[in-house]
């Protein structure tokens, strides 16, 4: 079993991170009735003997003594981290896992990346090494941050770089919250584009999140609960937005609902690596199957169900509904339109009592092509290397020509808290292109006028070229997606096979 370490950077990163740890404890408490420290727990938590104080030794087996998160909390302001340390989760973190400062980054990527990066580099490396040493087999770093500010964006991507340098074999999954168009931080386009370059070059997988989508999900749930339309009551702890049953229940803050969604995303993503199932899907498999070309590693995520009704036995139609929902925009965590763009690859991670036949039935339904017609040459005179044909009904999801059945599936037996089953869909789809194009446009609007540029250029180590390189990196990425999109409408010509001399 492997371990993962979460690095939460900046205000947003730490708030989301906090929700993650809370819900992770809730999930493990629901599964682990005997209070034994098992391998599933060890993926995110250490078991520390705290009887003689916080610096006790790690306990690898046996009863749970004190669980400590495998995490690094980084913020250049103290407010958020202090709140975490005074709240109900204070025992989950130890003071040696924190790096804070006082004055913040002033929403300036350069301050975060160049000034604080330089200043705290050694401190960060040392603390990362410590957390890695506590791991038997470290597989993955999860970075949580936002793109629009200064610390999460600048220092967060600095840490990303560091991770690649110091731990090249360990995967780097980044959960990035992208700013919306009406973001109140004026320089957020600069911060985001500068950060994008780092994500392009140093991340293995990026899960972009947009606040608008999270807000829409929260509102949808509110509406649904308050409309009184549903006959049965909703199980409170099943809401993808809820903290019910966790340590924090009494102190819900406004962003908690939205952050819980992201926390649930991470829990579902890692569920098959932590718990058993009939078809396991580990984190390294996600990266292997969903990243066909090194820079195209941006994955659109959608989570279902958003809630579960109490007292309802789930017939298989409901199960099928879950699959359809995963491909509807209401369940996505970014504002994009995958159905009208091109799928490069798609992963379905199912949790709970779902079997392979349910999976197959739904994949067939989604690709809308239950009876492919293949013609094979079968007479002696033709060689076996003629192209094979497929006669397709109009499919509802468009997959790229070289990956027509591009599905990666996983079945994990343990459902999330409050649900009997759930589905996480991760799609590598060209629909992220418009998001990036918009980002680039907002960037150019400011850059052309050189607005606020001096705040960045006055920082040691920052030059105009940093900006031009960053926007060029983004343009290249957009161009790669363009090239793939171009293949969507053309006629399907399979390359001819190798011919064997008889």
């Amino acid at each position: 079993m492997t371990q993962s370490v979460v690095v939460q950077v900046g205000q947003c990163g730490n708030q989301v991170g906090c929700r993650f740890w809370d819900l992770a404890l809730r999930e493990h408490a629901a599964v682990n009735k005997k209070g034994i420290y098992d391998e599933a727990l060890s993926s995110f938590f250490r078991n520390v003997d705290t009887r003689s104080g916080n610096n006790g030794p790690d306990i690898y087996k046996g009863k749970i003594c004190s669980l400590k998160a495998r995490a690094l909390l980084i913020d250049m302001e103290e407010g958020v981290v202090n709140e975490i340390l005074q709240g109900p989760l204070k025992d989950v973190f130890d003071s040696k896992q924190l790096i804070t400062d006082v004055s913040g980054s002033g929403n300036n990527w350069a301050v975060g990346h160049k000034i604080y990066g330089c200043q705290y580099r050694e401190n960060i490396v040392e603390k990362l090494r410590k957390t890695a040493e506590h791991c038997d087999c470290l597989q993955c770093f999860f970075i949580i941050h936002s793109m629009g500010g200064g610390t999460g964006s600048g220092l967060g991507t600095f840490v990303l770089n560091l991770l690649e340098e110091e731990f090249p074999e360990v995967y780097r999954f980044v959960t990035s919250v992208y700013p919306s168009g009406e973001d109140d931080v004026i320089t957020s386009p600069y911060n985001s584009v500068l950060a994008m370059k780092e994500l392009n070059e140093h991340a293995d997988c990026v899960l972009p999140i947009e606040n608008e989508s999270l807000l829409e999900i929260v509102n949808k749930i509110h509406q649904m609960i308050n409309s009184g339309k549903l006959g049965s009551t909703v199980k409170q702890n099943s809401l993808v937005t809820s903290s019910a049953g966790s340590a924090k229940t009494l102190q819900e803050k406004p962003f908690d609902a939205m952050n819980n969604i992201v926390a649930n995303l991470l829990l579902n993503l890692t569920s098959s690596a932590r718990f058993e199932g009939s078809l396991n899907m580990d984190l390294n498999e996600i990266s292997m199957n969903l990243v066909p070309f090194p820079r195209l590693h941006y994955l659109v995520s959608s989570l279902t169900p958003l809630y579960t009704l109490a007292d309802v036995n789930v017939p298989s139609r409901r199960l099928d509904q879950m699959f359809s929902d995963a491909f509807s925009r209401d369940h996505q965590l970014i504002q994009a339109d995958p159905k009208h763009s091109l799928y490069l690859a798609c992963a379905l991670l199912v949790r709970g009592n779902v079997q392979v036949s349910d999976l197959r039935r739904n994949i067939e339904r989604l690709t809308d092509c239950p009876h492919a017609v293949l013609i094979y040459p079968f007479t002696k005179s033709q060689s076996a290397s003629s192209p094979f044909y497929r006669n397709r009904l109009k499919p509802s999801l468009h997959f790229v020509s070289w990956n027509q059945e591009g599905w990666k599936t996983g079945l994990c037996s343990v459902p999330p808290v409050g649900h009997s089953h759930s589905l996480l869909a991760l799609a590598n789809n060209t629909c992220v292109k418009p998001t990036f194009i918009e980002l680039k446009d907002r960037f150019m609007k400011l850059y052309k006028k050189k607005a606020h540029l001096h705040h960045y250029l006055q920082i040691d180590g920052m030059e105009q070229s940093c900006f031009s390189e960053a926007v060029s990196s983004l343009s290249d990425l957009i161009e790669e997606y363009n090239e793939l999109d171009a293949t969507k409408c053309g006629p399907r010509i399979d390359p001819s096979r190798l011919k064997i001399a008889i």
Binding site: D136, N284, M288, D358, L374, E405, P495
Partner: protein, 447 residues
Amino acid sequence: MSIVTVQLGQCGNQIGQEVFSALCSDIRGTHGLCSKKENGSYQDSCKERFFCEEESAVPVARAVLVDMEPKVISQTLSMAARSGHWKYSSHSHFCQKQGSGNNWANGYSVHGPRHKEAIMNLVQKEAEKCDRLGGFFTIMSMAGGTGSGLGAFVTQCLRDAFPTSFILNHVVWPYGTGEVIVQNYNSVLTLSHLYHSSDALLVHENDVIHKICAQLMNIKQISFRDVNQVIAHQLGSVFQPTHTAGGGSGYSRNPLGELMESLVPHPEFRMLGLRNIPQMPESSLPYSTFSWPGLIKHLRQMLIANAQMEEGIDWQVRPPSSIPSTNKPLHFNTSIANLVILRGKDVHGVDLGSFQDPSLYTSWLNPQDAFNAWKTPRAFNKYEKSAALVSNSQFLLKPLDSIVGKAWNMFASKAYLHQYAKFGIQEEDFLDCFTTLEQVISSYTNL
């Protein structure tokens, strides 16, 4: 003679556990409709072949379990132990922590060399426990990273360390519509490598077994466990003891050797398909009666028409007429060699002449050499009469061609190649594998 089973990866270990379970429950089952002496002989032979009797009196499977992550092996070990009727040795497994990430190159080029010594030590220990080693049976899938990549590497090691032993690879082919996106790459790499070190590949396709579960077994919500149990039943019907031509009056002492001898006359043709009849839910068995002529007729048509199960057989397909012509009729499945295994009541009187019809076969072997039959009056797994067919024919031609076609399509776009290059498998390596398989496809097409 004993067979050592090597279970590789999640699929290999899950299936392996079901196989030993099926074998054990079969020999513990009620009489098997034959004489007590026959039954005793059967049980002894099965136990010698697959289990080791230790002081604990619960038979211990002759198996080595290998996986690159721990969850599946620990589940497998505990499920076996829970049965109370058999178990795995507590020292016969090897696992690591991180898995192979569905990356064949990771399994083959990294995990393989790194763990070769440890794994081969376990195999050596199991081999030494056998009075006479009859060969190796490996179980793996070809879609993932460990079973496929590490499996290919281990097979090579087995060949190097035991040059005169028989190696039979049981390979599971994934569902056509994706379990793993890079499954076609992994499959091409696995099959081409196995072709060089294995004696024969015995294939099961998930799509086919799934259909059997849905249509014959009437299972509503099919799980991988159901699929694996059907596979285990089919494998059991081949590997449980039988009387063979070369075996004298007792049960055959060299099943793997005799299998290879009957079915693999030429190294270019190693792909074996498996069919089994009848197949039905256990609850229906008491209400069904079978006749040998009926079973044989269906089995033969399943062979000729390349039917995957006993429903939906195309009865229109006929072997080519005796008038020589250059074109074989479309959809007719030409065989190189066939092996039919009969188990149950009244086996000895069964007429298998229809399988000896020369028009079923290529012209290389004498019809009497191209066809073999193994029998035992001892019924298998509660079926009063059952017949299995292991066939070296064009059964797997279409699926193989499909896999190679899809893999080639992806290869032409260079997608995912960087993931393999990271661990040392380059484009040229892929090309070599494609060449090997196109050759195999061509050979089977031109039978």
